[in-house]
Amino acid sequence: MAASTSRPLEYLEGLPGVTFDRLYKQPSTALAIFRRMLPDLAKCFVMALLYLKDPIPTADLENWVKAESKKERDNALSILGRLHILSTTRTDENARAYMVTTTFASSLRHALTGSKDPQSFGVFSHIPDESKITIAGLDEYARRQWEGVLGYMVGVSALTGDSDPVNLSRGVKQLLQAGNLVEIKDRRVDITKEGFGFVLQDVNTQVWHIMILYVESADSLGMDSVEVLSFLFLLSSLELGQSYEKKHMSSTQLRTLADLADFGIIYQESPEATRFYPTRLATTLTSDSSALGTPGASSLTGPTGQGAGSGGFIIIETNYRLYAYTSSPLQISLISLFTNLKYRFPNLVTGKVTRQSVRRAIDMGITADQIIAYLMSHAHPQLRKQNAGHATYNTSGMPHSVLPPTVTDQIRLWQLERDRLRATPGFLFKDFNNAAEYEAPCRYAAEIGVLVWKSDNKRMFFVSRHEQVAAFLRQKK
């Protein structure tokens, strides 16, 4: 399973059971969760149980899986349980048994075989659109909006001197701030530590992160978070390049639509338009294909976008010189967070990773690992090819880094240098008269887990919290 699914999964698992019941009333939600959130084995289980009339005894189901795959089976069953898809009951013979929860089962059946309710997967707009937008146009729009959001976070406009190229609404900015991705100090936008980690992730994970923030804040904006969430799942099952009617939608859905347009997740000509188009950001939300790395989605990541895999554009040499074949202001400003840039050409920027530039990044709260992960995922194919040749000489069994090891090691060392001392606030206990008097409270502090340091010779010890130890000492007297 793609790593990017973990965050939405975590969020969903935290929801109360009643919420699941409401969510699963929508066939689109049931299908989206089935497609995106479940491991393959769990999908098999669901499909096998979906059309059964009676619960299946636990022992029978467990027999389907070979003993050596017990781990996978338990994992699948546990996810199904946590997502309230599978519930345990009793058969007539009073044996423990599994069944697919009623709401989920009936919704998924509707999704698979057609539903009485035609609106659950959106309503196509049948009137031809005179200003129809192509798929390429949608991708361009989505990419521009999304890079605009990221650019706002890292302060692209300040760097290039452009007047804000993408107009971000106040809602977007507030959401980023509420999610602790940026902070606003003296009217200046500063990216936070979480924010830097965020901009380095792949697009799909980023979209989910934002969407979950959005759902979490929905209640405070006066919207029903469950309705927003199930609307997101609906959007994710729409077809790219098709336009959809807005007239059947509730006020919450319309409001969500307007907010999502700011992120480039859907496209509409104007907020008053009668139709909208989902972009690739929406349609890849719950599909197995990620927004990155697949040929069909490459237009979104594009030559200037964040290419992973073969789309990398960064070359870094053993002498810390860095060459980045990009003209994207966003990528350039990301690189400039930890590099001293020197020259800029139409399709290339060069610079050097120095102790000073890495220190600057670390002072901002960026970690060495984040920098290395970024360099790694954007490494130029040439760099990969070159280092793949050396891989045969690597006998340690470690996965060979595509980056020069000297560079990655040095970046880590520069970070270590920054943490020269570790400080722990607390209390020093001293002046014990004899060893016996010292030992008892010291052992007590260790037992309750507050002891940080001790010296038997000097009869001193340091604790992070003193209340209990002090009480212990008083008691002894």
């Binding site: 120095t354 102790r355 020269r420 001392l421 570790r422 020093l428 206990f429 002046d431 340091w453 002090a470």
Partner: protein, 72 residues
């Protein structure tokens, strides 16, 4: 009679500890208790930021020489 003293326990390299000890000699305003091993001491909580800044500044000066040698 045992006593408890409030402070910050600092864990660091011996070289850093030596620097802190030297700072303290000037006005005795950093250290609460020198713990007499190579890498621990207790300092006043209010002095942490000040101490960090001073260490960074002094160490940067020494490192600068190294940095210059491999610049463009």
């Amino acid at each position: 009679m045992p006593r408890a003293v409030k402070g910050l326990l600092i864990q660091c390299d011996p070289s850093i500890k030596a620097m802190i000890l030297r700072y303290d000699e000037e006005r005795h305003d950093y250290i609460v208790e020198d713990l007499d091993d190579d890498n621990h001491l207790v300092i006043k909580e209010s002095q942490l930021e000040n101490l960090k800044a001073r260490l960074d500044r002094d160490l940067d000066e020494k490192m600068l020489l190294l940095d210059l040698s491999d610049s463009e």
